[in-house]
Symmetry: C2
C-alpha cells in the first residue's frame, strides 16, 4: 500500500478499494501516516466524494480504530438520536427521558457546542454536580439500571474521528457530506445500537442551509446504517429560526423541564414528540406513530418522564432539586430587551445570527479550548409570522459582561425583521428518509 | 488573513487575491503555515487550477521567498534554456557552449535526474573535478569571465519551491500544470534573465504524454513570463523515443562532445540547433532562425563552441582533457547487446521503458538520496522507422552489476518492437509557443 497512489486515485475520481481505505485510516489512526498526506486525501474526498461501498469501508475502518460498545446485557432495545446541530436545539434533554420512560433504552452520547450551535453536554453540566464523563463500565451499569444515560463519548471510541475532525477543521474540509456522514455514523455505530433516529437540521442556523443538501446528508447516513445492518431513520427539521424560545445552557435545561411537565413552546414540543415516535417505532415499542405519540404523552402526563430525568440526574451525580425547581439553575445577573422599532409581523428571526449572538454573550465556544458561561443566553419571544407591536420586546438577553453584550446586540438586531405582510411560518418538518 | 478561508475559497473554485497568495506562500516559506494546510491548498489548486492573475501572484510570491540574482554586470544578453526533462536529453551540454560562443551569455542552472529522466548536473559531474555547486559571487564572476556557467541552483534561490516540491511529491499533487509552471518559472525568473527558451518534451518519456497537455504547459509558462516582462519562447519536442543514442551520464557527455565536433546523431543535432536559434533570437544575436543557425554552425565548425566547453570545464575545476578525449571519462566494465529476434522495421523504441532501464542499471535515481553510477547506461542503436535485420544489435547496455542488468533487461526488451510495416518516424518538433 502506498499513500501517494491512494491520494492520486481519489484525486482522479477513481474509487478506492476497501483494502486501501482500511489501510489509510488504520495508518493514520496509528500515527504512521502524516497529517499532510491525510489532508491531501481529505481534500480529494471533498472534491470527488465517496461512493456507497467506499463509505461503508471508511465508516468500518473508523469504527475499528478504537473500542466498540456492547450493551447486550440490557434486554430493552437500544435506540439513540443524533442531531446535526442547531440553535436552541435542546431536544435531547426532554426526549431521552420520555423515550426511556416508554421502555426503550437510550444510551445517548452527545457532544459540546462549537461555533453557533449548542451542545447537550454543556447544557447538562449546568446542573450542579452532573457528570458527563463516564467510563464504559459505569455507562453500562447506568444504562442497565435507569435505561437512559446522558454522557459524552468515551475517548476510546473512534479515536480516528477526533484526529480527523481536528484536521478537517484546519484544512477547509469540514463541509463534505461523505466526511460528515462517516464521522457521525462511525461514532453512532460504535455504540452498538439497535436503531438510530437522525434529526437533520436544515436552514440558516443549520450546517446544511439547503433542503437538497440536508436530504443528501440524511440519505447518505441512512445508507451507511443500512450497509451496516442498523435501522436508521432521518427526519429533516427546520432550523431557519431557533427551536423553542431559549438559546443558551441553563435556560435550555429549564425549558426542557417545561416540556417534561407538559408545557413548553409548540415547535419544540412537536419536534420532540416526532423524534420520540420514530424512536419508539424503531425500538418496537409502538406499532405506528399515533401509538407512539400516545405513549409519549402518557409518559409526560403521568410524570414518569420527568421522574426519569430526576433519576438520571441523581444517578450521574447531579443535584435533582434543580429539575424540580429550575430557578435554582445558574442565572445571569443582567437582562436586556431588544424591542420592535415598528409594528407589523415578524418576517425574519435568523437562527445563525442569534446563535452567533449567544456565543458572543459567552454561551458558546468560538474555539474548542474556550470555556462557556452557563448563565448567559437569549430568549426569543416571537416566531416568524407572529404579529408584533411597536415597542414590543422581541428578544431578551441574559448577560454578564457589558463588552460581550455590546458584541451580541448588533447581531440580534440584524437577526430580526418586522414587515407589513405576514409571512407563513416555515414548516417544522421538511421531510423524512427513508 | 486566515489559512482555512483561503483553502475554502480555492476549494470552491473562487480566485484567490494576490494578497492571499502572497500571504500563504510567505507564511509557508517562513515555516508558520503547517504542511497539512499547504497540502490541502495544493490539492485544491490541483483540482481547481489557478488563473493567469493568480499564477502571476503565486510565481511572484515564490520568487520572493529567497534571493534573486542580478547579472547586470554582464553586458551581454542573458538567456537560459529549460527542459521539462526526458531520456537521453543532453541538449544543455552542447547548446550552452554553442550559444555562448555566439556572444550570448548563458547562466545555465540545471537539476539532477529523478525517476526515469536524467539530470545535467549528474552528467557534468562525470567530468573529473568538475564543480556544479557554485556560490553566487563565483557564479557571477564566472559568467562575466566566460559567458557560460553550468551549475546547480543556489540554495538561497526560491527556497519555498524546494519545500513545496517535496510536499507535492508526498501528497499526489505533482502533475498540476499551474504548480509545475510556477515551480519552473519562479526558479528561472529568479535568475534575472533577459529571455528564456523552454524545451517542453512530449511523449512516453516526458512528463506530459499528450500533445495538448504539453501545449497547455508551454502556454502557461510563456504567459507567466509575459506577465513578468521576460520574453519566453517554448518549443514542443518529441520524447516518444530517447533523444540521440546515449542514455546515461558519462556516455551523454561524450555524445555532447561529438555534437560540438560537428558530428552526433541527427535528432540531437536538430533539436540542439533549433533551441540555439531561439536563444540567439531572444538575445538579439540573430535576426531570424536562418541567421541563428548559420552563426551556430560557424561556432561549431570553427572549434569555438568546443573551446568554450573546454574553457568552462577548466574554470569550474574540471579536467579539460576529457573533453579533448572522452575515452578518459569513466566507463562501465561490461557490455551486453539486445539484438532483434526478427527482421523488419523498428516500430517502437519506448523512451519511458528505456529511461527506467537506465535507472535500474544505476544511471538514475529512484529516490532523491540515491547515488548514481556515472559509468553505466545504454546506447540505442536504431530509431523508429529504421530497417532492422534479424540478429542485429538494437541496444547496447554498459553495465557494472549483474543483478542490476537483470532488472534492466526485461524493460529494454519491452521497449523495442520490430514489425513488418515501416512506421513514419515521429516529428522532432511538435509545435512552438507563442
Amino acid at each position: 500500500m502506498n499513500a501517494v497512489e491512494i491520494i492520486q486515485r481519489k484525486r482522479d475520481g477513481g474509487p478506492l478499494s476497501p483494502q486501501q481505505i482500511r489501510w489509510v485510516i488504520g495508518e493514520y489512526a496509528a500515527d504512521r501516516l502524516p497529517d499532510y498526506q491525510m489532508a491531501a486525501l481529505l481534500m480529494a474526498v471533498f472534491k470527488e466524494g465517496l461512493d456507497a461501498e467506499e463509505l461503508a469501508a471508511w465508516v468500518d475502518a473508523m469504527l475499528h480504530s478504537g473500542d466498540t460498545l456492547d450493551f447486550s446485557h440490557v434486554a430493552a432495545p437500544k435506540i439513540d438520536k443524533h442531531s446535526t446541530g442547531g440553535v436552541g436545539d435542546k431536544v435531547s434533554l426532554p426526549l431521552g427521558p420520555m423515550v426511556a420512560a416508554c421502555g426503550v433504552a437510550v444510551p445517548m452520547m452527545s457532544g459540546r457546542g462549537l461555533g453557533h450551535t449548542g451542545g447537550t453536554l454543556d447544557k447538562l453540566e449546568t446542573i450542579p454536580g452532573f457528570r458527563t464523563a463516564l467510563d464504559p463500565p459505569e455507562f453500562r451499569a447506568l444504562l442497565a439500571r435507569t435505561g437512559l444515560v446522558l454522557a459524552g463519548q468515551s475517548e476510546t471510541l473512534v479515536p480516528a474521528d477526533r484526529r480527523l475532525y481536528a484536521l478537517r477543521d484546519a484544512t477547509g474540509t469540514v463541509e463534505s457530506i461523505p466526511l460528515i456522514s462517516s464521522s457521525i455514523m462511525s461514532k453512532k455505530l460504535a455504540e452498538g445500537l439497535d436503531g438510530l433516529v437522525l434529526d437533520v437540521k436544515v436552514g440558516r442556523g443549520a450546517f446544511m442551509k439547503r433542503l437538497e443538501d440536508s436530504r443528501t446528508l440524511a440519505e447518505t447516513m441512512v445508507g451507511i446504517g443500512r450497509s451496516y445492518g442498523t435501522p436508521v431513520r432521518a427526519v429533516l427539521t427546520d432550523m431557519s429560526q431557533p427551536l423553542g424560545r431559549e438559546v443558551g445552557n441553563a435556560c435550555e435545561v429549564a425549558e426542557s423541564v417545561e416540556v417534561l411537565r407538559g408545557g413548553g413552546p409548540a415547535d419544540l414540543v412537536d419536534v420532540t414528540y416526532r423524534l420520540g415516535e420514530e424512536m419508539l417505532l424503531l425500538g418496537g415499542a409502538a406499532a405506528d406513530r399515533a401509538e407512539g405519540r400516545a405513549r409519549l404523552e402518557r409518559a409526560v402526563a403521568s410524570g414518569a418522564a420527568l421522574e426519569k430525568l430526576v433519576e438520571v440526574v441523581a444517578a450521574q451525580g447531579g443535584d435533582p432539586r434543580v429539575i424540580h425547581d429550575p430557578s435554582l439553575l445558574p442565572s445571569a445577573p443582567h437582562r436586556h430587551e431588544v424591542a420592535a422599532a415598528r409594528g407589523g409581523f415578524l418576517t425574519r428571526c435568523d437562527a445563525l445570527d442569534l446563535g452567533v449572538a449567544a456565543t458572543r454573550l459567552g454561551a458558546g465556544r468560538e474555539r474548542k479550548e474556550d470555556t462557556i458561561d452557563p448563565r448567559v443566553g437569549l430568549r426569543v419571544l416571537v416566531k416568524v409570522g407572529d404579529p408584533v407591536e411597536a415597542g414590543q420586546p422581541l428578544v431578551r438577553l441574559a448577560w454578564a459582561d457589558a463588552a460581550r453584550l455590546a458584541e451580541a446586540l448588533p447581531l440580534v438586531e440584524r437577526a430580526l425583521e418586522v414587515g407589513d405582510e405576514r409571512s407563513a411560518p416555515p414548516p417544522l418538518v421538511h421531510g423524512e428518509v427513508p
